[in-house]
């Protein structure tokens, strides 16, 4: 039985399917999976820093807005958010709110990343000793100068491990975009399976590609951590 499975799995026919599907899958990765991840993460990070600063600003209305935003995003599934942005807003009949699948995905993913990452950034900022704020104030820095020059650089170091988690998570979550017909890698895999009828083979191949991407990302994470840890005692 086992023999049968393995020999059939690596039959020459199957190997041909793997080879043929590799290029389309790779195309999906390069033209959608990676761009979606990168663009959403960069925008999300920007939203996250602003949201985190709102939360710690002590200005009630800003903190309130940030709190509600984070609560809504964290309290609802990403897939539902994606559908609301793409199908929901698209159905309002307002041209401005009709997005291409790619754009819609980026909007939903950026908002989602922004909320989660803001909590990470907020916690990192709060983890920096009060003495750092005081030292920077005492040499005359304004709130934003302290934040930019002293607090955020240190908070960045603290936030790299959890942010890397979010980033790697995002790579995998881009597969949800397949549901609104974005031709990212998983969508490509589904299309291939529809013609070859070899779901196990092609989905495992897709899984392997996700894993390789995430593995490379974790190597990059290690390098960033090493670099940012250069000023702390090890």
């Amino acid at each position: 039985m086992k023999m049968y499975l393995s020999s059939s799995f690596f039959s020459s026919e199957n190997i041909a399917i793997l080879q043929d599907s590799f290029i389309p899958l790779l195309k999906g990765v390069l033209s959608y999976t990676i761009p979606l991840t990168l663009i959403s993460f960069v925008i999300g990070l920007f939203i996250a820093v602003v949201t985190a600063v709102f939360r710690i600003s002590g200005i009630k209305i800003l903190a309130g807005i940030a709190r509600v935003y984070v609560s809504i995003i964290r309290g609802t599934p990403l897939l539902v958010q994606l559908f609301i942005v793409f199908f929901g807003l698209g159905n309002l009949g307002v041209d401005f709110l009709k997005f291409e699948p790619f754009t819609g995905t980026i909007i939903a993913f950026s908002l989602n990343t922004g909320a989660y990452a803001s909590e990470i950034i907020r916690a990192s900022i709060l983890s920096i000793e009060k003495g750092q704020w005081e030292a920077s104030s005492s040499i005359g820095m304004s709130y934003f100068q302290s934040l930019k020059r002293v607090i955020l650089p240190q908070a960045t170091r603290v936030s790299i491990p959890p942010l890397s988690n979010s980033f790697i998570g995002l790579v995998k979550e881009t597969s949800l975009a397949s549901t609104i017909l974005v031709s990212e890698m998983f969508r490509k895999a589904q299309e291939i399976v529809a013609t070859t009828y070899t779901p196990l083979l092609v989905y495992v191949e897709a899984a392997a590609i996700y894993w390789v991407i995430c593995f490379i990302l974790s190597l990059i994470q290690d390098r960033i951590e090493t670099r940012l840890n250069r000023y702390v005692k090890t």
Partner: protein, 245 residues
């Protein structure tokens, strides 16, 4: 040079400073002593506006600030630059080298150009005996060295008065001397200084005036010899007995 009139500060219901009147002339060194919780740190923090008193007046170098009315952030910042604060726990910026720590104020706040700020920072670090250490990170320095960087950083903004909050109390005994030495040099140069410390020897040698605080009030003040040898107030005597034991 620096004077306060009726500075009062409370945290919630706890009154920490009560009508503090302080007067420090240019070039003089005032040492503040007193039991734990008597408000010494709070007083320094008020002078640097890290805390805002509820009432009273502080003036440094002909600029006054009245806590009776609301202050803008800008006012606070501009006033704050008149004093340089040295913290008990150094509070160096760990992600900057010694040189970058010292340059930060001039470059970011005073917009001095980098080359010039670098040169001046290197001079300051040389002055505190850290010429060899300008390019290392704080974690690579001993406590005494870190505190000397802290002093250089505070001086870099050219403050009119230097404030020291128990600058040596976090240090191993063998490292205390090097920091006090730097402070003595500053005093000799004619820097105006307010120093909270329990280093009696330093106080005797360097201070022009010693102030004894207790429960948020100035109980007694005088020249070091007078205050240490012939304290008038009962509470001062008690405190001196305790620390001389």
């Amino acid at each position: 040079m620096i004077s306060t009139q009726k500075i009062s500060k409370q945290f919630g219901d706890l009154v920490v400073l009560k009508d503090i009147d302080l007067e420090v002339e240019k070039g003089k060194v005032v040492v503040v002593i007193g039991p734990s919780g008597s408000g010494k740190t709070t007083l320094l923090r008020c002078l640097n506006l890290l805390e805002q008193p509820e009432s009273g007046l502080i003036s440094i170098d002909q600029q006054s600030i009245d806590f009776g009315k609301k202050l803008s952030k800008k006012e606070i910042r501009s006033f704050r630059k008149k004093s340089g604060m040295v913290f008990q726990t150094y509070n160096l910026f760990p992600h900057f080298t010694a040189l970058q720590n010292v340059m930060e104020g001039p470059v970011t706040v005073q917009k001095v150009n980098k080359t010039e700020a670098k040169k001046r920072a290197a001079e300051l670090l040389t002055k505190v005996g850290l010429k060899e250490k300008i390019d290392v990170f704080p974690y690579q320095l001993s406590g005494g060295q870190q505190q000397r960087v802290g002093i250089a950083r505070a001086m870099a903004i050219d403050p009119k008065v230097m404030l020291f909050d128990e600058p040596t109390s976090a240090l191993d005994p063998e490292l205390v001397g090097e920091v006090l030495l730097v402070m003595k040099d500053l005093a000799k140069e004619g820097r105006t200084m307010v120093v909270v410390t329990h280093e009696m020897k330093f106080a005797k040698e360097v201070a022009d005036e010693v102030i004894f605080m207790d429960e948020g009030k100035i109980i007694e003040r005088g020249e070091p010899v007078d205050l240490f040898e012939r304290p008038k107030e009962e509470r001062t005597k008690k405190f001196l007995n305790l620390i001389n034991q």
